[in-house]
Amino acid sequence: MIMKKKNNSQFFAFVRKEFYHIFRDVRTMLVIIGIPVIQILLIGFAISTEVKNVEVAVYDPSNDEVTNRIINQMDASEYFNVTRRLKSANEADEVFKKGQTGLVVVFCEGFGERLYHTGDAAIQLLIDASDPNHGTTVSSYAGSVIAGYQQELLQETNVPVRINPEIRMLYNPEMRSAYNFVPGLMGMIFMLVCAMMTSVAIVREKESGTMEVLLVSPVKPIYVVISKLVPYFIISWVIFIIILLLSVFVLGVPISGSLVWLNIFALIFIIVALSLGLLISTVVKTQVAAILASGMGLIMPVMILSGYVFPIESMPPILQWISGIIPARWFVSGAKKLIIEGVPVRFVLKEMLILLGMAILIITVSLRNIKTRLE
């Protein structure tokens, strides 16, 4: 019992020392607190939801009274400026690429006639959705202009007419918005803080020679290692909460799922990331190597293969398969479900189990590495 108490206080002495290492190093503090906050704010400010004077191009093959009225109404609204008439629908792509046009309106042939005779006419709205929030707003404003006209017609003629707007979001068909970046960003930040910083912290002791002194002392090596993980675990959780708060109050991301499960899910992923850092630290000898290994081996794949930047569904099958072994991929998909879709936890059970399995596997391998290296 006394022995156990002694061990505990020893352990906390180590944890405290580790916090000293972190808080007394300006660079470490910058990386673990500065980077997450800056990243989330950058994304926050990169989103603009203000929509005004969007340049509109029109392809109007029927060129009748109805279409002209719709076009005029659109031009009259403060949101849109009709600046261009297209000669064919194919020109749409071209005007988008010139970068000024945000919306292309394509009327069907004989629009007015069809509207009066069949009560049904088609209009296509092509929207540049490379900025998804902007795209959504444009789409809803254009939709309301058309709906307004439809209302007017109904009052004038008393004939029920229906204009069917077909909306196509170009360049970003999934409408991946800044919201969707939040889970990916979390995944990347945990890799940075947990995996990179822990591996560097452990390897630093090897480099500086203090690890040698600890190994010669009666303290169990596993204690040393775990005491290094604890502060990063706590700090990561704090960062997670900071990101969450910033997302809600700065980005306006609605968190629709259970907060408790979201936290549990994030903690599981933090453990995976920590164990990856541990694994790296058992393999490399220098801090530079640790940074390279975690940068190239962990952070790059998170950016490219986790679904953070590129949607997994549109990857070639081989890359989809590779992305399956990247923990962040499962975290991103689970976190998206919990944060954005707000599904009950049973829908992320698969992701949770995969991450847990990965954690167990990686920890087992690293512990074995630690053991063999010491003997």
Partner: protein, 237 residues
């Protein structure tokens, strides 16, 4: 005998790093463990400290079997390496408390002894200084004090004075003598042959074996040498 090594051998595959070494060291002795780089000193030291298991042979350090009771060995020894081995970003007293805590000293004992130790080595004013702000000579003195803070029976010093100026080295050896007078056995490796002269006895390792072991005086007589440097050159050539 505080260290008793009998036919201790360590092989890595076909390579025999330490080849049947046998010797013993008495209490309070200052024992110089010399050898060229690659002679097997470090491997041997690691075995004495309970860090690596011998391939064959036996050894007892501080009364405990180095192969079977490495934990007990570790508790009863102190260690200081050629690399400076305290935490640079911890304060002087934080380093002392951390390492003393590892060896199981309780808080009260630690704070009492910290002041005594710091006064003795003249670092009382630096108690709250981050270790990285101290000059190297002071750091080495501090590291040595930390290594013997828990009053081990033996302290292993692996090239403790590397890179330190002559005056600081001199002071360092005074600390070693003080420790030896208190009954702590000092087991030291060094590349400075003038330091070898300060030892009670020295052994010189060549290719994994202990080639000679005697007092510096007798070794000089035997090899008709003016100083230990000549003895070393004749053997480790």
């Amino acid at each position: 005998m505080i260290i008793k090594i009998d036919n201790l051998t360590k092989c890595f595959g076909d390579f025999t790093a330490v080849d049947h070494i046998t010797f013993s060291v008495g209490k309070g002795e200052i024992f110089g463990f010399l050898g060229a780089n690659g002679a097997g000193k470090t491997t041997a030291m690691r075995m004495f400290c309970g860090l690596s298991k011998p391939t064959s042979g036996e050894g007892r350090v501080a009364g405990y079997d180095i192969a079977k009771q490495p934990e007990m060995v570790k508790k009863n020894i102190g260690y200081m390496s050629q690399k400076f081995s305290l935490y640079e970003d911890l304060k002087v007293w934080e380093n002392i408390r951390l390492f003393a805590g590892i060896y199981g000293l309780d808080g009260k004992q630690i704070s009492r002894k910290t002041d005594i130790t710091l006064k003795r080595i003249g670092l009382m004013n630096e108690k709250n200084t981050l270790v990285k702000e101290l000059p190297l000579g002071w750091k080495q003195k501090l590291a040595f004090s930390v290594a013997i803070f828990h009053e081990p029976k033996i302290v292993f010093l692996d090239e403790p004075t590397g890179g330190v100026d002559p005056i600081a080295r001199r002071q360092f050896w005074e600390m070693i003598y003080e420790a030896a007078e208190k009954g702590i056995t000092v087991f030291v490796t060094t590349h400075y042959m003038d330091e070898a002269e300060y030892c009670n006895r020295v052994s010189i390792m060549v290719d994994g074996r202990i080639k000679v072991l005697d007092t510096p005086g007798r070794l000089k007589d035997r090899f008709h040498a003016k100083n230990m440097d000549e003895v070393f050159r004749q053997l480790a050539r």
